[in-house]
Symmetry: D2
Subunit: 399 residues, 4 copies
Amino acid sequence: MGFEPSEEIRGTLKRIRQFVDEELIPLEPTLLQEGFLATLPALEEKRAKVKELGLWAPFLPQEHGGMGMSLMDFAYVSEVLGRSPIGHYAFHCQAPDVGNMELLLHAGTDAQKARYLDPLVRGETRSCFAMTEPMHAGSNPVWMSTTAVKDGDDYVINGRKWFTTAADGAAFTIVMAVTDPDASTHARASQILVPLDTPGYTNVRNISVMGHAGGGWASHSEVTFEDVRVPQTNRLGPEGAGFLLAQARLGPGRIHHCMRWMGICERAFELMCARAAQREIAPEKPLGTRQIVQAWIAESRAEIDAARLMVLQAAERMDAGGAGAAKTEISLIKFFGAGVLQRVLDRALQVHGALGMTDDTPLALWYREERAARLYDGPDEVHKISVAKRILRSYEGRQ
Amino acid sequence: MGFEPSEEIRGTLKRIRQFVDEELIPLEPTLLQEGFLATLPALEEKRAKVKELGLWAPFLPQEHGGMGMSLMDFAYVSEVLGRSPIGHYAFHCQAPDVGNMELLLHAGTDAQKARYLDPLVRGETRSCFAMTEPMHAGSNPVWMSTTAVKDGDDYVINGRKWFTTAADGAAFTIVMAVTDPDASTHARASQILVPLDTPGYTNVRNISVMGHAGGGWASHSEVTFEDVRVPQTNRLGPEGAGFLLAQARLGPGRIHHCMRWMGICERAFELMCARAAQREIAPEKPLGTRQIVQAWIAESRAEIDAARLMVLQAAERMDAGGAGAAKTEISLIKFFGAGVLQRVLDRALQVHGALGMTDDTPLALWYREERAARLYDGPDEVHKISVAKRILRSYEGRQ
Amino acid sequence: MGFEPSEEIRGTLKRIRQFVDEELIPLEPTLLQEGFLATLPALEEKRAKVKELGLWAPFLPQEHGGMGMSLMDFAYVSEVLGRSPIGHYAFHCQAPDVGNMELLLHAGTDAQKARYLDPLVRGETRSCFAMTEPMHAGSNPVWMSTTAVKDGDDYVINGRKWFTTAADGAAFTIVMAVTDPDASTHARASQILVPLDTPGYTNVRNISVMGHAGGGWASHSEVTFEDVRVPQTNRLGPEGAGFLLAQARLGPGRIHHCMRWMGICERAFELMCARAAQREIAPEKPLGTRQIVQAWIAESRAEIDAARLMVLQAAERMDAGGAGAAKTEISLIKFFGAGVLQRVLDRALQVHGALGMTDDTPLALWYREERAARLYDGPDEVHKISVAKRILRSYEGRQ
Amino acid sequence: MGFEPSEEIRGTLKRIRQFVDEELIPLEPTLLQEGFLATLPALEEKRAKVKELGLWAPFLPQEHGGMGMSLMDFAYVSEVLGRSPIGHYAFHCQAPDVGNMELLLHAGTDAQKARYLDPLVRGETRSCFAMTEPMHAGSNPVWMSTTAVKDGDDYVINGRKWFTTAADGAAFTIVMAVTDPDASTHARASQILVPLDTPGYTNVRNISVMGHAGGGWASHSEVTFEDVRVPQTNRLGPEGAGFLLAQARLGPGRIHHCMRWMGICERAFELMCARAAQREIAPEKPLGTRQIVQAWIAESRAEIDAARLMVLQAAERMDAGGAGAAKTEISLIKFFGAGVLQRVLDRALQVHGALGMTDDTPLALWYREERAARLYDGPDEVHKISVAKRILRSYEGRQ
């Protein structure tokens, strides 16, 4: 009973935890003070080591070089990796590549897999996913202006996207584009593979986000497609399936994210407790003797435990019945987990005082960057409303 | 995996749920408009029916006339019973009798069991537990003024207690009294059985709580002991064990309470959703079309699910390792669950508008009476601080 | 500058404060333990004394036997009176009579004033206001089913109202009824004076609210009008002006309410601080040495000060420009003030522990009854939305 | 009555507001995308223009080249300047220079004024204030390790400070150092002027704060003093007066900060409303039609108004009775205002969706940098506790 990892996975988790603590956390000062690109050379060495240890891409089937984990088992892994901002990257299960690999695995043709998936799986290339548009609210994913018009055997793509994470340096993108403007709302768009050296594609800018334009994987771009021409064989799945594929991609992705958040929460909690236990506010009087700090610790512990159990329950339901069966659960953890994440980080930062504002701990990075948790993959409010509508339907007509 | 009830218990839960919905909820208008005593005759008939159905006192061993449930299974039952304010009473597992029965079972002598436990188990008597004193903070349970002094073979008890729930009409009380003022803090007090017809005992008043002095089981008394004399054989367990026994009594009791709260939450949630789906704020515009109400529904669903999982996890740990192993979990659910309860009731009341203030639904009763959830069995703040101290101990000395 | 009362009014406030503390607060134990009706005889004596002291009905013009105060000055008075649940009644400025007196003063004919206002002003009769209907959401005040149909020189009224405060024992009601169903939304209803001994009027029940049906002034009734016939000269103001008059009645009424809440907050704050300073949680360790309690005290002080300044600013704007000029301010204080009230009462109750649940202090009464503050005169949510819409209008079209 | 600016100051406020909107806000894209140093050349031109317009250093006496404003009038100015992150700098009233100028004005000798104040007033130099130490909690300002030992006519200073804002490029610092370790707690330290080209002084690093080490005025340094020798005539005020002077410096400074926050809040509120009015979430459906967004707008309006009134009241009391008379008010606005600031920024960011995370608006800058508002000049918790203790003192001994 309960949601404890099996004996078998527990050993793997321990090995991963040790790697994160001993190999990745020591790279954090460079990351925090000098940025992702400065950290990359050392990080690539760690990635090689992860591969050697047989811990590469845990969510991928073994025949593709991964560990073949269930969603539930990968949830535990994602939590452990979340302890460091570079955990997922080191183990090659970082967004957006992880979602793209899953997409290609499930919807790609053999030719697409050979050309796009295989080098991506090996970590030789990176990829991105071009969906959100600056002129349309991300909360309404079926409303977009980018089009892909058939011309002979090709698609000709035009449009502007932004928040295309990791476009900088990526080999290809999967782009959402309207292929049939006259179809019903959810059947208008398709997903199309576009190599980024295709003429007409431009990375306009790495958007400055919370003070940094970033670079490489750690960036979010505004990109344009001007008469970008690719063969129709680059389409993923059937025409008009873009929205469905995007939903399928997001379901497990939200579980991954939420468990990553739990890892962040656990690390922040540890930092908060260590600081409270050791920082003296007067001789021999550590901060942790103060009731207000004690209350924050207890409240954080309760909220983290609560959110974690909910994520694991959602993972279990998704493993058992698919993303469709766990729609409500996924929406619940999306906003509940993001709220817990923000509050725990806020308290941990406050306990650190001025130090919490500095980049001497990862708290400030998470505080500013993970503010996005309440926005990406659907803002909190969209999830709340969709949950409520689903629930209320069952009360209509009753007396 | 997860925390779903076993196939076996699921049948029982269904029967109990049906009884609550069909037999008890129809008694609520009387309870809400006329009070507990007016409801009692009908309620006693229901209790007889419960006995006939073999659903009596589910937490008691079968040899004592119960269903022999584990803490975990009883947690599910407590949730279902919590749906109505009279659920636990109808199934004879109401506080404080349930705790007293457990105490007598585990610490009572055969003679004590014959005299006090057996009629209580059968529902022929009621009992109470006299612990809190008006002059001492309930948050510091080892600080009390009531004394029991040995005199020959007897104890002579003097003191004043209050919030002695259900003293009105009870056959006996278990009183906490200092038997050795010179012992270490946690070994000063003992628990002593006192028949309430013993000379020197007075029920000073049924305290008016949230507007009502109440009566019978549904009351909280201020009582005095003036030279109350009982034989020393009335002591429960060893001398000085009062605090330990109280703790042991409270552990599972807190799980019961928390699952009862979850039952209240579920009922309040249903009432809120039904109201939102059906109440029109303009022709053809039900209240549930409003985003603010939708947000409350989603937030309530998330919080109830979260709290429920935490309570079940605590129950599982207590079943596996005893109350000691689940100390932190129990404190966490105590304040987290009480907070969820208050917020869910508050939202449900607000969605009902003026109707929520009336006694036409049970919401107003719960809103005012369950405010005590954040106080009894240790106020939220005491639990938060004790959790934090326990956690912080493991961080001391680390660097 | 600032919002301090003038030198002149300060003397009056001091006298009123003294009366509340010395004459009214000593009546509270009876009120809290035995109810309003049991308190009434002593309270009537106090009312006579108030009249003698020249402090009667401070908001009324002097020619009508009042003190002729501005809204601003009466705001300060309302705060002081709010310190006790019977303060406003003792000084004859209790809802709903205060609003009815204002209505009659401003919209009544001489004949209406002579018959209805004069005895009411002298405190010889009581009145009520029948607006809310059980079948229609109070948040949509223009939606009602009660009708008044002209028949000869009369109106014949049919309908059902509830939450008609103080109907029990009142001499007359002002009823809102649709007089022209075909008029535009805000011009459908009129206000009509109905003596409560008119045939066809029935007080169906004193609604049980938060556990009590109450009685006399302290009650809320469900009432029906079945072919109730009154002369058309009983209409207040022009036909179709019902909604406008109701709005005019509510504007200052909300200021009164909000300042009454501030008085409750101040009293609760004092009780909380006194308890924190004096209640020991261990020998020589008062509760107020604990940081969590300290934080509540500071947060409450800040919130009360903030809400109070906002109410005074709204009163100033209304005195200067009428209710229309202060629409936004009034909506802001309505929900902001009600939120502060609820939080301050909640903290004060928690600091009192079990005592806070009892009727030994007025906290439990306020905790349960003033929950309605977030509902009456428009629920929080209605005020929030109307404020936002008004603000957003000025942003439309801008770039 | 109320807290409206006088007719006279209103004209000045209008001119300043216009300057901020027309001259400074257009510089923000450079600031947000390229940083402070890249903005500096253009900003210096604006500063020259401010001087020409006679709006320079509004808080300074006219004989020192300022506008001679009262604290109250400057509060209104600070609010208007707060609308842009570079407002205060442009008008030469930026922290920490503003506090240092006030210190030198009130406690400096003529020689100190000539050497340090005059060029600072003219904007030819910059300064910093070295108080917080990395090894001691900033919340306990009397606990420090930096010492200044007399040696002949000099002080020899040793110690380490951090969060010395704007040290990078400053001409001098005022350093807090223990001059008499045996004195009573509050009389141990003195304030000493140290030119930053004095041997032994080192700027160890511009601390990376929320992702940026910054530069020039927009930086926070860690600095060390190793046998730094300055004449004793560099001491500000009497020996042992360091703490008192620091308190005197902080009082008005907190008002400045709080009104600056109000300016930020107003700008964020405008951005939020404009976004809500114009961003469509579906064709013809602006975001502002959604109730959840409407609730945020109303709640923000209420909270900003409330905080603003409290700050103005504190300013009024400080103008009337000095910082000592307004201690409680200042602590209240410190934590209440910082809380409002954080919530308003959080809501404004959320309404902007992904755009809110970018540096295309100033929201992301404020969201991350103004997180410090809850920490600097005393963390929220320190202010809450000191308010509560002051209040509780008056309840001790009462019954």
